[in-house]
Symmetry: C2
């Protein structure tokens, strides 16, 4: 297979971890005879520094015209604590999601056997947990109109959803549930929010097409509790943008480290793959960042193009690295291995 892949390393630890994902893809290409052509582009704080724009047109054009995007991370503390900054790295990411139409963000959560003790949760709570979060990614308060009055004393964010936006991701989530344990949990705040009531209504309607999938509903406050109390109850979780952001970071504790979680963002035409961790600026350049999430995002990319065998080889390589404790310090505090060594191990295993 021939794939043209846009690579956006971004900020902080982004470049370091993406380098390891590329290494794994190179190895797969060699062994299984695929041609992966990578083209790098600027994005995030680094793009602001160099061009004034967190998503330069050149980067956007590249992404629109490649088969897939391999994304690192964006974000820089110099913008976070400056509420007056007009241009921020996150705007680039949000615009990219919107322009590529990446409406579904898919985040699988499943602890590794050899890491069952790495979680702050008790082993018996997480052993056997295996669920996937479908987070809507191009709607909600992320993209609604924002206002700030002239005096800077009043602000607003509009959360909006349309039936169409809900329907398309609901179908994806139900289809995924059909291939899994056939349970879908819709998470919302329908006792307070109008948008949540629309979600509930539309998802009920879509569910008629999937009579083999059991549908239930949870309020987001309760869901935030249930994910910790009893994560095994979940199979597929479907939710809107902001709730999905919060719940998927929370759910990362089940696996022991957010450095293990990858995600796929899908649209009609485009697809982007990224670790769910952020730019983690404190770790930048220290060779301590966990590359596994980024490597797994490359595996999700392969799956997306039907290369299941190849993806599986990466999953196995990662499992071996974890089993042999070739992991970074987030997983083993006295580890001698760094970002590079873990990436080396994985690509050598392929």
């Amino acid at each position: 297979m021939n794939l043209k892949i846009a690579v956006l390393p971004g900020d902080g630890i982004g470049p370091e971890v993406v380098a390891q994902a590329k290494k794994a893809l190179y190895a797969i290409g060699e062994v299984y005879n695929h041609e992966f052509v990578f083209e790098e582009a600027l994005m995030g704080a680094i793009a602001i520094d160099k061009t004034g724009n967190p998503l330069p047109e050149q980067t956007l054009n590249l992404c629109l015209n490649t088969d897939a995007v391999l994304f690192g991370a964006i974000g820089d503390p110099k913008y976070d604590n400056n509420p007056n900054a007009k241009v921020r790295p996150e705007q680039g990411l949000l615009r990219l999601r919107k322009e590529l139409g990446l409406f579904a963000n898919i985040r699988p959560i499943k602890p590794y056997k050899s890491l069952l003790d790495a979680s702050p949760l008790k082993r018996e709570i997480i052993e056997g947990a295996d669920f996937t979060i479908f987070r809507e990614l191009t709607g909600g308060a992320y993209f609604g109109a924002k206002t700030l009055n002239e005096e800077g004393t009043h602000a607003s964010d509009l959360c909006e959803y349309s039936e169409e936006e809900i329907t398309r991701i609901a179908h994806l989530a139900f289809k995924s549930a059909q291939n899994r344990r056939k349970k879908l949990t819709m998470v919302d705040k329908a006792n307070v929010l109008e948008t949540s009531r629309l979600w509930r209504k539309v998802v009920q309607k879509v569910s008629a097409n999937y009579p083999d999938v059991a549908l239930d509903f949870l309020f987001v406050d309760n869901a935030a509790m249930q994910i910790i109390l009893n994560p095994k109850q979940f199979d597929v979780i479907l939710t809107e943008n902001l709730f999905g952001d919060i719940l998927s970071d929370e759910a990362s504790v089940i696996t022991g480290s957010i450095g293990l979680l990858a995600s796929a963002s899908l649209g009609e035409k485009n697809a982007l793959f990224e670790p769910i961790h952020g730019s983690y600026p404190q770790a930048k350049g220290k060779n301590i960042a966990n590359p596994i999430a980024s490597i797994l995002s490359a595996a999700m990319l392969l799956e997306h193009f039907g290369l299941f065998k190849e993806a599986n080889v990466i999953y196995q390589a990662v499992e071996k690295a974890i089993e042999y404790k070739v992991v970074t310090v987030d997983l083993k505090s006295d580890s001698k291995f760094g970002t590079n060594e873990v990436g080396e191990f994985v690509s050598n295993f392929i």
Copy 2:
């Protein structure tokens, strides 16, 4: 002291648990020579059933003219799964919060020594955790304009905040931090939301008055993870309405049961005390609901009126109940004790 207390038992397990809180207050009144006059009123689904209104004017008037409100819970599944219901129990609670101006909801989180093993989190993670969440309660997406178009295909919720709304709760939170470990963590999503950027700016401004309190910021997704990874890092958490709703339910897992957590909702003139658990309709009438959260909300009521010694007696009684395992099934699956027995134990201890 003379106190006139409005009692709103509400729906589901509300009446059962509030009855135990009243029992505890009666006992305190007897022993310490206070006169607590209780007046009950309708609210929630039961008020809709009887009057068509989840917050009848009579109930509102009573609450406006008493010293404090002791609240149970509201909510009924027959409304939750009906996105077309025009009148819902929650509207009553939201209106009550608004009319009483209860802008600050305070939720203390601290595990009991004898319950350190009841949490899904490992003992070493939660031992020593002790923080308080200050949740803004009368603003944000809960109260902003809501729309649903005629075809029922597009909905919106507006999240709004003003400098004034943020300032008043920020002062309360900083003052609380001064009396604690002098750390305040502001939780927001300032990398995406305009309202969050306003929060950040205003809280930074208010912090100038509290130079002895260390202020830091966390994005809500990260906070949802940190509360589980390392709850000991927190002292006071300050956040907006919806984030506070989600994070405080999540944080309840630290204590082992949401049935242990009480909250105080404060305004300029009025105050309301309630368990943070909801109406838990499945448990209604079975004498299995944990009354401790409601009893502790009564203790918070006493504290609010400066009756610290009396509040302490309740805290001690609850600790004894837990120590002697006179607890409901949420805390000990083979417990022989029910709602009534736990309430009896506590009031007898006073």
